[in-house]
């Protein structure tokens, strides 16, 4: 094996196979397991009904995020069902000795923001969570992906899941990104080219100088969205940017352990000559600020383009017509100038400090449009503190925006942050499915810059005109 060129993905995967089953999945060891209130309760019930325990509680981390309110977090949670789920997470964590960062905890926040910012997510790890956006952690050169509740129960009880090894895909983006083009635009562009199912069955490695030159926050945005083209996950080889981000974080290795870890992390890259089952290469110069016009994340395009006709898109006409009818859009219309009602900046996709810096760069010196309701939701308390320390809160307040408290919020609208039926929301989150942000809500996925441009003009606006 050692003489054979192998990929980053192979190196990390193969190091975690406990047993190979002939004509079956691999028994796959999990280094880090994140849990939250929505997809874990039934797994704990399963443990009880089988009368088995948690094998390695120190490898699981709990945070409350999906179902939490984003205002008045110091008060009891009003929704009885939500409160019950939050309580279950707390009780189950305490019972089995799992570290729990519940509502109000200083390190609480969205699971995929919290893991990296506290140094829990490290290169070369395997990381799972009952949440498809677990792919986010791949930004560190980890194999990270979402699992179902049955698998949550498997990880709790045996620290392993049964996984067939996916095929390998590499997506290269080379060149220099233009003005106003962000990591979110890069990922929406890739997904628009591959379609919403184009990477199903694959694990993706992102390569090329666009990713090499990208911050960790940006890489997390890109890896986060991997699932939106069907990939189980995406990863980027760790480099100096990665090491600098991790160094000194709360749970990151220190001293000798750091040196040891670093030596290992430097081996985590795809060897020259290693092969992939599929490979795509794109030119950064072709990417402009993106926006979606339909009801899956693959239905996106450059913001200056007109909505395609059904002949121009893959898939059946009836599905396409249904999608445009839901959105209230028509073929060939311009996206620019469309009136919007809501703006949501936040989520595990774009809820990190860099995203709020970008948002503030456009909002600064301008005012929120009167027709827009804006929800500005940090990904964690640590991000919230950074927003305040860096003076971003002052810029937001001056422009008429209010900062809410951390959580998944309007990304999936489990709490009260629901976009009303028929209303248009420019959202920095990850999914524009029907009803995703509330029954009947119409979502336009975009970057923090596009969201900011819409928030201050009240219509879909090219952010390059405001930079």
């Amino acid at each position: 094996m050692s003489n054979q060129a192998s990929t980053l993905f192979d190196k990390v995967w193969d190091a975690h196979v406990v047993r190979k089953i002939a004509d079956g999945p691999d028994v796959f060891f999990i280094d880090r397991h994140f849990i939250h209130e929505v997809t874990s309760p039934v797994a704990f019930l399963g443990l009880e009904s089988r009368n088995i325990g948690v094998m390695y509680p120190e490898r699981t981390f709990a945070t409350a995020d999906h179902n939490t309110p984003t205002i008045n977090q110091h008060l009891p949670v009003q929704d009885a069902l939500s409160a019950n789920q939050l309580k279950a997470l707390e009780t189950n964590s305490a019972k089995y000795g799992i570290s729990h960062w519940g509502l109000g905890h200083a390190r609480n926040g969205i699971v995929h923001v919290v893991g990296p910012e506290n140094g829990i997510t490290l290169p070369g790890m395997t990381i799972v969570c009952g949440d498809s956006h677990t792919s986010t952690h791949g930004a560190f050169g980890a194999i990270a992906f979402g699992i179902g509740t049955s698998e949550v129960e498997m990880v709790l009880s045996s620290q392993c899941i049964m996984q067939p090894k996916p095929k390998k895909m590499r997506v290269n983006v080379n060149g220099t990104l233009g003005k106003g083009v962000t990591p979110k635009d890069v990922t929406l562009y890739i997904i628009s080219k591959l379609t919403t199912a184009g990477a199903t069955g694959y694990f993706v490695e992102y390569a090329g100088d666009v990713f090499r030159n990208m911050s960790m926050e940006g890489r997390m945005t890109v890896c986060n969205m991997s699932i939106e083209m069907g990939a189980r996950g995406g990863m980027i080889a760790p480099d100096e940017t990665t090491f600098a981000y991790i160094n000194g974080r709360d749970q990151a290795p220190k001293g000798e352990k750091w040196d040891e870890a670093l030596a290992y992390w430097k081996t985590l890259k795809t060897d020259e000559g290693a092969t992939f089952d599929k490979e795509y290469t794109f030119d950064a110069a072709d990417i402009e600020p993106m926006i979606t016009y339909g009801t899956n994340p693959g239905m996106g395009q450059g913001i200056s383009r007109n909505i395609p006709t059904s002949e121009q898109v893959e898939g059946g006409k009836s599905t396409y017509d249904k999608s445009l009818a839901y959105m209230g859009f028509h073929e060939n219309e311009s996206m620019l100038g469309k009136k919007i009602d809501y703006v949501f900046i936040g989520s595990c996709t774009n809820g990190r400090i860099e995203d709020f810096r970008a948002f503030a760069s456009i909002v600064k010196g301008r005012k929120k449009a009167d027709n827009v309701t804006a929800w500005v939701v940090p990904g964690s308390h640590i991000v919230e503190a950074q927003i305040k320390e860096e003076g971003i809160l002052d810029i937001l307040t001056e422009a008429g925006f209010e900062l809410r408290q951390p959580g998944c919020s309007a990304c999936l609208a489990m709490n009260d942050d629901k976009i009303p039926a028929g209303k248009y929301a420019v959202s920095t989150s990850n999914r524009n499915f029907e009803g995703r942000q509330g029954p009947g809500a119409r979502t336009l996925l975009a970057s923090p810059l596009v969201a900011a441009a819409a928030a201050v003009t009240g219509v879909v606006t090219d952010p390059r005109d405001l930079l």
Binding site: P25, L45, G124
Partner: protein, 198 residues
């Protein structure tokens, strides 16, 4: 959680010829607040099935009494999006035991197999034939034979084979699950864990 053994299923089918049916449509997030696995079938396809005032939408297939059965037939890329196993639970709880499509999203497929729903992936051509057979006769029956790995349109006898790995097939036929398997190899896992650098 144990589930019914799956060997041979002969049933009519419910057609849903829409592509990219995502798990937010199968069960919207606001119905994920339970702490027990009960009653999710009531909210299966909630927003396609019911109006805002909870009255049924007459044009949705689950509200049309001529369509029934234990097989759900969906368009290409069924089950994309969120990892919520609740989507599979809702389909199971409603009474389906098999979902047929020309393509499945990964996590949904895995979740289905883990709870005893058989995902049957057929060619686009065969999927069209299934939809046409149901259109011609809503009482058309289909036979899913897991042992043989075939799905047959009973009226015409047309058949296609489908893939499933031997391990999962064995599990479904016997009603076993992965947790039983993993519990039996904890010694091996312990040895592995002791060598981990993290």
């Amino acid at each position: 959680m144990a589930y019914d053994k799956f060997t041979l299923l002969r049933s009519t089918a419910v057609p849903l010829p829409i592509e990219n049916v995502d798990t937010d449509q199968i069960i919207p997030a606001r119905f994920l607040k339970a702490t027990k696995r009960e009653g999710f079938g009531d909210n299966l396809f909630r927003d396609w099935r019911y109006n805002g005032d909870d009255t049924p939408k007459a044009d949705f297939v689950l509200n049309n009494p001529i369509y029934k059965g234990k097989i759900l037939v969906g368009g290409h890329n069924f089950g994309s999006g969120s990892s919520r196993e609740h989507a599979a639970w809702a389909i199971y709880d409603y009474g389906f035991r098999c979902v047929v499509s020309s393509f499945f999203a990964d996590i949904f497929k895995g979740n289905s197999l883990n709870i005893g729903i058989l995902p049957v992936q057929v060619s686009a051509e065969f999927l069209d034939k299934i939809f046409l057979a149901i259109e011609a006769d809503p009482n058309a029956e289909f036979e899913v034979n897991l042992e043989e790995q075939t799905i047959t349109i009973v009226s015409s006898g047309e058949s296609e084979s489908f893939d499933i790995n031997g391990y999962k097939k064995h599990n479904m036929i016997n009603g076993f699950d992965d947790i039983d398997y993993l519990q039996a190899m904890k010694g091996e896992i312990k040895e592995f864990e002791a060598e981990r650098i993290y």
